[in-house]
């Protein structure tokens, strides 16, 4: 290979086409930026979590139990007393209604009653500062999450009622271990001193309470202690959270989120690749004559390929560097967008691995996308220098298949690498391929249809403009791919979000409950029923709630099973959890029997052992089928049961849904409380009811459907904003491609426009031709993108979220019209220079910029 020639030619071509290459490069740069930004942020978060892991947990170890630790467990903890650095703090955590007396507003809150010098690591920041240290000694002081102040319309100094105790809102918590923006929105926290728990009278038998013990001790002896007693703790259903485990949990959740977001970045990158391929194809078309001359002058095919391949490498490297720079900048923006989802406060840092990965991926994808068109240059026959009509052979079918294979393998590998799991990666790659193929296929079909159904009687400019969509060297497929894909992503996200939120909103319609009352004691049921009915509420559903744990399953004690190293995370959770079971003679509307059969009155009379019905998914985790036996520990009483049926449950509905249902006649004597689902249309009346309820029945908690909607909306908004930001990158990539394609079209169409003007067409006619083509392209792209979005969102809503689909046509129409307008404007603007100049001046310019025969 003649290296000097190769480098010199690549340099000269780059110099001549730098603007075009900058445009092509920008298509790739945005996708690279998204990936670099997200990977950088993930690495930064991981680093921050690693560095602050003790501060995040606030201790070296946390023990959590639903029951207070019994004497033997307390003795176990006491063994640590002599260990160097030992300290213990306790938090009793439960949910409660909080009533702000001045505003009269109520809200379900997460009460954390603290004793001891928690946290041992890190600090709790308050507003005004320094209040945390005074919490233990201050009289009835409460520190609350800032979001609660807003929700309750409360101020510092206001009185806050929790159960039967009254507290003074001393200040707000601005940062505390384990706090996330979104988490505090969903369940705002109220910190009080633990000595006031009794006074609230909210912790009773059957209440859902977490007893947390935070421990500080020297690492090695603590490790030994944990190793020695892990089985005992597991058997006593004490959950153990180590610093390392907490670290992993925090980074995993955020990692999964960034990985999902990264897939959107990858989509932008793939789309950018399509743009590069389209741009390079046009570039190659223009270079055929140049290459033929070079070949006639003695350049080998290897020299030609190397020179133009080097150009592709330069393009990829340039795009990679620009994308990496933009990605680093994005790292400063992302924490603001994802603020509520970040487990730690982070300062953006430069992450060399993320940058190197982004550049390498961008470079490789650019080269591989450009390789297809470029390989044709290696086959340009020198004879073409004498005869322009002498076409060379195209790259062999095998060569093309190898390239497509390499491309598919790269995208597949990148998707699997980027995705949270291989299955998600494979599905994403498949979906991406299908979407691109559908967009390209539909665009090609539209072009064919237009060719076959010509507008014979339309004005000249309209016929010419439409004909530009199917004539040789048209940009229909490239534009529809570029713009349609971006629109497809944004519209799909919008349609899915709308449908999920609408489903919740549907539950606020007349026949659906919109207020849930928890922790109603059995002896309060009648009184509360009368109380709520008096205030205009209708009781839609009610169910008794009995807490139970699995004691024995598949012939083995759960404590044995939990002692095993083998059970996976889900199984451990299913074995260890406390089930809120109910008993009922009938199936609920949100349930259907998937296996076995529902009980009949005859069964109930004779059933021994007791029948039980299990929800399908958790039955799968537990590995039980109809006929299997499960022993339940119902608050100290052992009950043997046989699985009679498996039930599918529609969890999407606000209803009393249960994993485990017993028939009547089994649990009636067990300690229990009742959950009531109410319907009260008027929001003010609902707020008043909750306020009165808290005053009269302080142990009862109420959850307003609007709070669930609010929380879900907050979460969707937070995640949705990030996804939309990334989707906008894709749309911006599409627009870059559009600008590149429009610029290319201008190069190619200039001569034609000039010819038309020479033949007497007015500049207005030329302008109309350009505008017609731009509008038609935009319309096809918008229609195809929106249509595909409808299809994809229907599939996602129907099959993934398992909800009914109702297309948000107005939103989609607004997005489609917006896209059409942008596409048409950009496209029409691209024809401007050719119109503005005199035919002669523009012809010279076109020659100069390399449009003419090379």
């Amino acid at each position: 290979m003649n290296r000097r020639f190769v480098v010199a030619m690549a340099r000269r071509e780059l110099r001549a086409s730098r603007r075009r290459f900058a445009l092509y490069g920008s298509c790739m740069a945005l996708g690279i930026a998204a990936l670099v930004g997200l990977h950088g942020l993930r690495a930064t978060v991981r680093g921050a979590v690693d560095a602050q892991s003790r501060q995040l947990l606030g201790a070296d170890l946390r023990l959590a139990s639903r029951a207070p630790l019994d004497a033997s467990l307390e003795a176990l903890v006491a063994r640590l007393t002599d260990v160097e650095g030992y300290a213990a703090a306790r938090i009793t955590r439960f949910r409660s209604m909080a009533l702000a007396t001045r505003s009269g507003r109520t809200r379900l809150v997460d009460v954390q009653a603290v004793a001891g010098s928690y946290p041992f690591y890190g600090t709790v920041r308050t507003e005004p500062p320094g209040l945390w240290a005074q919490l233990q000694d201050a009289d009835h002081a409460a520190l609350v999450d800032r979001s609660l102040l807003v929700q309750l319309d409360a101020r510092f100094g206001d009185t806050l009622t929790l159960g039967e105790a009254r507290f003074r809102v001393a200040g707000a918590i601005t940062r505390a271990p384990g706090s996330f923006g979104v988490r505090t929105q969903v369940a705002p926290r109220v910190f009080i001193a633990r000595r006031y728990v009794k006074e609230t009278r909210l912790v009773r038998p059957g209440s859902l309470v977490d007893h947390l013990v935070y421990l500080r001790a020297a690492e090695e002896p603590l490790g030994h202690w944990l190793g020695a007693h892990r089985t005992t703790l597991a058997a006593a259903r004490v959950r153990v959270q180590t610093v390392a485990g907490y670290q992993k949990e925090l980074t995993r959740t955020f990692g999964v989120l960034t990985r999902y977001l990264g897939l959107v970045g990858l989509a932008a990158l793939a789309l950018g690749g399509v743009g590069v391929a389209a741009g390079v194809r046009v570039f190659v078309r223009e270079k055929l004559d140049t290459v033929a001359v070079l070949r006639a002058l003695g350049a080998g095919s290897g020299d030609v390929l190397a020179a133009y391949g080097l150009l592709a490498v330069a393009l990829g490297a340039g795009a990679g560097l620009a994308g990496a720079a933009l990605g680093v900048a994005l790292q400063w923006v992302l924490p603001a967008v994802l603020g509520g989802l970040l487990p730690v406060e982070v300062d953006a840092t430069i992450e060399p691995t993320a940058i190197a990965t982004g550049i390498a991926l961008g470079l490789w994808l650019t080269v591989i996308f450009a390789a297809g068109p470029l390989l044709d240059l290696g086959r340009v026959p020198p004879l073409r220098a004498l005869r322009r009509d002498f076409a060379g052979e195209r790259t062999s079918l095998r060569g093309r298949a190898a390239l497509v294979g390499a491309l598919a393998a790269t995208l597949l590998a990148a998707s699997v690498w980027q995705a949270p799991s291989p299955l998600v990666g494979l599905s994403f790659a498949g979906g991406l391929g299908a979407a691109l193929a559908l967009l390209a296929g539909t665009a090609a079909a539209a072009a064919v249809w237009l060719r076959r159904h010509r507008l014979r009687r339309a004005p000249f400019w309209l016929r010419q403009g439409i004909a530009n969509l199917f004539r040789p060297r048209n940009h229909t497929v490239a534009t529809v791919l570029a713009v349609g894909f971006g629109l497809f992503l944004v519209s799909t996200l919008q349609a899915v979000r709308e449908n999920v939120l609408r489903q919740i909103a549907i539950d606020t319609r007349p026949d659906r409950p919109n207020l849930v009352l928890f922790d109603v004691q059995r002896d309060q049921r009648a009184e509360i029923a009368a109380f709520v009915t008096e205030r205009g509420a209708t009781i839609v559903e009610q169910a008794p709630l009995v807490s139970a744990r699995i004691a024995r399953i598949a012939g083995r004690d759960v404590t044995d099973r939990l002692g095993d190293e083998t059970p996976d995370r889900d199984l451990r959770w299913a074995l260890r959890r406390e089930y809120r079971t109910t008993y009922s003679a009938d199936l609920r509307p949100s349930e259907s029997v998937a296996a076995g059969r529902w009980w009949t009155p005859q069964d109930l009379a004779t059933a021994k052992p007791a029948a039980v019905s299990i929800e399908t998914e958790i039955a799968g985790t537990l590995g039980v089928r109809p006929g299997d036996r499960i022993h339940w520990d119902v608050q100290g009483v052992l009950i043997e049961s046989v699985v009679r049926s498996l039930r599918d449950v529609d969890w999407g509905r606000l209803a009393t849904n249960f994993f485990v249902v017993f028939p009547p006649g089994v649990l009636e004597q067990a300690p229990q409380n009742v959950v009531l689902l109410l319907r009260l249309a008027d929001a003010d009346a609902r707020a008043a009811l909750q306020r009165d309820l808290v005053g009269r029945f302080p142990n009862v908690s109420a959850l307003d459907a609007s709070v669930i909607l609010f929380a879900l909306d907050a979460l969707l908004r937070e995640v949705g904003l990030a996804v939309r930001l990334l989707a906008l990158f894709t749309l911006a990539t599409g627009l870059s491609i559009l600008v590149a394609a429009a610029a290319t079209a201008r190069h190619e169409r200039t001569r034609e426009a000039l010819l038309l003007r020479t033949l007497g067409a007015s500049s207005r006619t030329v302008r109309r031709i350009v505008a017609t083509e731009a509008v038609a392209l935009g319309a096809i792209a918008a229609a195809v993108g929106s249509g595909l979005a409808l299809l994809a969102s229907w599939a996602l809503v129907r099959w993934l979220f398992e909800l009914p689909f109702d297309p948000p046509l107005r939103d989609l129409a607004v997005l489609a019209v917006g896209t059409l307008a942008i596409t048409a404007t950009l496209g029409a603007m691209s024809g401007r220079p050719a119109r503005a100049k005199s035919p002669l001046a523009a012809l010279r310019e076109a020659e100069l910029s390399g449009t003419g025969a090379g």
């Binding site: 000269r12 070079l294 002058l297 003695g298």
Partner: protein
């Protein structure tokens, strides 16, 4: 310098029709330093003959020996290497690389020379400048083709053709895109340089004035040599 024997070129046609014979059984010898003009009406096979003699294409039948090298035995890349070292071209439509300046266009053949004959970059540039000065474009070195007139572009083409000191120069209608006066100037330049350097010149032309200044005129008709005229 060039020996062509039984040169035949056929192009297959679609639909199973018999192949189109563009050139049939041409025998031609060109001696070193000779100026041979190939004349004939459109479609007589002139350009095809030029392409085959220069090794730009392979004949369906027959053989070409160029400067002692049998082209049939070479691969396309080997023929390209031979062209880089021993052949120069002047084209009807100038075929300058539009994205390269005049100087860079003339530099290309020097950069394509085999490593053993390739001048150092500064030397290559000096030679390219010299050539452009010789063709009267010393003041247009950094101009792009689109900034030059047709006659000037063809002068750059001639400078490029001679830059690698070729043994044979093939010219395809070198005045075909120029007016009479400019065409005359270009012919003068081409023949002067050819004379000075002793290059063998094979030129396809319609221009009887140019043909009249060749040592031999090969008349082609229907893909065959109709007659050969020798100028005295």
């Amino acid at each position: 310098m060039i020996v062509a024997r039984n040169l035949t070129q056929r192009y297959p046609l679609a639909d199973g029709r018999p192949a189109l014979t563009v050139l049939g059984g041409v025998d031609l010898d060109v001696a070193a330093g000779e100026v041979v003009a190939v004349l004939g009406p459109s479609g007589s096979g002139k350009t095809t003959l030029l392409g085959l003699l220069a090794g730009l294409d392979q004949p369906t039948e027959g053989a070409v020996t160029l400067d002692g090298v049998a082209l049939g035995a070479l691969s396309e890349d080997e023929r390209a290497a031979l062209r880089a070292e021993r052949v120069g071209f002047v084209f009807q439509s100038f075929q300058l690389v539009q994205t390269l300046t005049a100087l860079e266009n003339v530099l290309v053949p020097l950069e394509l020379l085999p490593a053993s004959r390739r001048p150092a970059p500064s030397e290559a540039e000096r030679r390219a400048r010299d050539w452009l000065e010789r063709v009267g474009l010393g003041n247009r070195l950094d101009h792009y083709p689109a900034q030059l007139s047709g006659g000037e572009q063809q002068r750059v083409g001639i400078a490029r053709a001679f830059a690698n000191d070729p043994r044979v120069l093939f010219a395809d209608e070198p005045t075909g895109n120029l007016d009479r006066e400019t065409g005359g100037e270009v012919v003068e330049l081409l023949l002067t340089l050819n004379r000075e350097l002793g290059t063998t010149l094979v030129v396809v032309t319609h221009d009887s004035e140019l043909a009249g200044r060749a040592t031999r005129i090969v008349h082609l008709a229907g893909g065959r040599i109709a007659r050969i005229e020798r100028n005295t």
